[in-house]
Amino acid sequence: MKNFLSKKTLNRSGIESIKFEEKIKVMPESKEALTNSLIMMLKIRFVENKLAQMRKSGFIGGPVHLGAGQEAIAVGVSKYLRKSDRIFSGHRSHAHLLALGSEPRKLFAEVLGKKTGLSKGMGGSMHLWDQTNGFYGSVPIVAGTVPLAVGAALAAKKQNNGDIAVAYFGDGAIEEGVIQESLNLARQLEVPMLFVCENNLFSSHMHISQRQPLQSVARFAIANDIESEIVDGNNLAEIEKTASKLINIARTKNLPAFIEAITYRHYGHVDWREDIDVGVNRSSKDLNLWKTRDPIIRLESALFEAGMLTTIELDQIKLQITNQIDNDWELAVKDPEPEASSLHSEVYKQ
């Protein structure tokens, strides 16, 4: 079998230089901000785990694409976003939504098909909307919202309000032709937006080496003269640094920018399974290796070492979040179903 992970390929890709085992550098003055980021990452992780558990036990009827293991990216990027920005995402979007401050209860209600859900039961996990928090929408057609984000950024430029658009997508989306069109168009129209590619090395069951000649996707940004950086997607401090810089470019210069964050998902493509050996190179060995690079564990360790967090404090934080999420779930379960009339009532604008 062809060795898809040859040294040569990795070197050419730009991923090789990332040291996933490196300690996260934390500055003492950012204790509060880092703790808040950790809390948000834990919240997202526990929401995803809850969804995995409830899907496995049959309480959730539809598919859920979980992003456990990838939380640092959304949390790091969202730190520099504001409520009036325009954020778009794809099928694996829970972290992007929650990192903006959206309520887990409304996400749970949506996943359960309840009237109180973010999309009032019309969307489920794959079609989420919470514009008051800047989340303009997610849909599962791969790359489907990327050109929409370009348009929302064009609108922001015309509205001249300093807002930006963000398009989250994965390494699989890069293989869609519309991504190339979108990058070219965004650069040519000079619109304020951030492309965030979460490269978790897998598209559904297929490793990136089976789909692309190189394993880093930032080359598409370079080809379109868009400022880009490849970053360790499991290192919150690095993501924050990169997001701060690139969002500033978008906001102040009316230009697109591109982050490629290398990461790995703990669950398989969809639902609770780990998808071990479904695709080439997703072995339990790889999964276990990547779990040692867990963005939450790495941040916790850094905070412990810097004396900014104790295990007792962390346990308290985790207990509080767990209780809150369990409570949110119980409430969402009891929420009402949508009325039959909602099948037809919103097909056209009222």
């Binding site: 999309s119 489907g144 348009g151 604008k349």
Partner: protein
């Protein structure tokens, strides 16, 4: 007198003047080649920031128009030829059409997608298609095909102001039609539907866009033979309000539908099905008929084009046959 192409331009100018959130995006908008006389010098009058000529990227540009609509703008996406718009089907069918429903009416993709049927002149199979029927299959889209010169202007304005995704389809073969244009009326697209443009009693002739033009010509020829047909211009193909058509067929007992597309699973078939499932079959004096394209891609050779595209003579023939039964 104003011609159809200029009327479209007046619709654009009206919108651009009155609504700062309107902008136009598409290929060829800074060139005189692509869209006939329907957008002449709009870029000079309103600036290239609002009349955006684009890279050859139908998919991303249409998606961007959808995204701009979600962010509060009223964009008009222009596809100078419908054939090329097929690259944009995800943005139209998966995103724009479903957005309101998927997001439970909390957000709407109020984008107008203007698509031009530009055929004939030995352009062949990929510079010729009239695919309006496709879009009528999709809930969430409004599909508009103006025939009259005033509709060309006023339905464009109504489309952009509707807040819904609208496929507005005009036909280059109508551009030289002329009318005296009344002042602009801002119509509510929700309330717009078929219109009787020539009243009659012997047969109901239903059509849209350029097909209505042929239907009107045919009705003139038939009138000289003492045959009094009623011509209904559909105007808005989806959502279709069929009442006027049903009432007319109940009165005349005969139905001929003229459609610039192919027959199978097409708009003409939809009109006939709607009529036959809704009215008392005893009221029908003859089998409904449709005049459509032969079920083959458009040819390039002029000699073949002559037999490919239906003409007014074909419409007259279909009516005459219906009346014989």
């Amino acid at each position: 007198m104003t011609n159809y192409g200029v009327a479209i331009r007046e619709g654009f100018a009206y919108l651009l003047k009155k609504y700062p959130e309107v902008f136009v995006i598409g290929q060829g908008l800074w060139s005189p080649w692509y869209v006939g006389n329907s957008m002449t010098d709009l870029d000079k009058e309103f600036g290239i920031e609002r009349i955006i000529d684009t890279p050859v990227s139908e998919s991303a540009c249409t998606g961007a128009a959808v995204g701009a609509a979600l962010a509060g703008m009223k964009p008009i996406m222009v596809h100078p030829r419908m054939d090329f718009m097929l690259y944009a089907m995800d943005a139209i069918v998966n995103e724009a059409a479903k957005w309101s429903s998927m997001m439970a009416g909390q957000s709407h993709a109020g984008v107008t997608i203007r698509s031009i049927i530009n055929r004939g002149g030995e352009q062949g199979a990929q510079h010729s298609q009239a695919l309006h029927s496709w879009f009528t299959h999709i809930p969430g889209l409004r599909v508009v095909m103006p025939y009259s010169v005033s509709d060309a202007r006023d339905l464009l304005i109504a489309s952009v102001l509707s807040g819904d995704p609208v496929i507005y389809i005009d036909d280059r073969w109508l551009y030289s039609n002329e009318e005296v244009l009344p002042p602009v009326v801002e119509l509510d697209l929700k309330n717009q539907g078929p219109k009787i443009i020539k009243a009659g009693t012997s047969l109901t002739l239903v059509a849209a866009g350029y097909s209505t033009h042929m239907a009107v010509e045919a009705s003139g020829i038939l009138a000289t033979q003492g045959i009094d047909v009623e011509v209904i211009d559909v105007r808005v193909l989806s959502p279709l309000f069929p009442k006027l058509i049903l009432d007319s067929v109940a009165k005349t007992g005969r139905l001929v539908v003229v459609d610039g597309g192919w027959s199978p699973t097409g708009f003409a078939g939809e009109v006939i099905a709607t009529v036959t499932e809704s009215i008392d079959p005893k009221l029908l004096k003859s089998s409904p008929k449709r005049v459509t394209l032969p079920f083959a891609p458009a040819p390039a050779a002029a000699s073949l084009e002559k037999i490919y595209y239906p003409t007014t003579v074909d419409v007259v023939k279909a009516c005459t046959e219906s009346l014989k039964q």
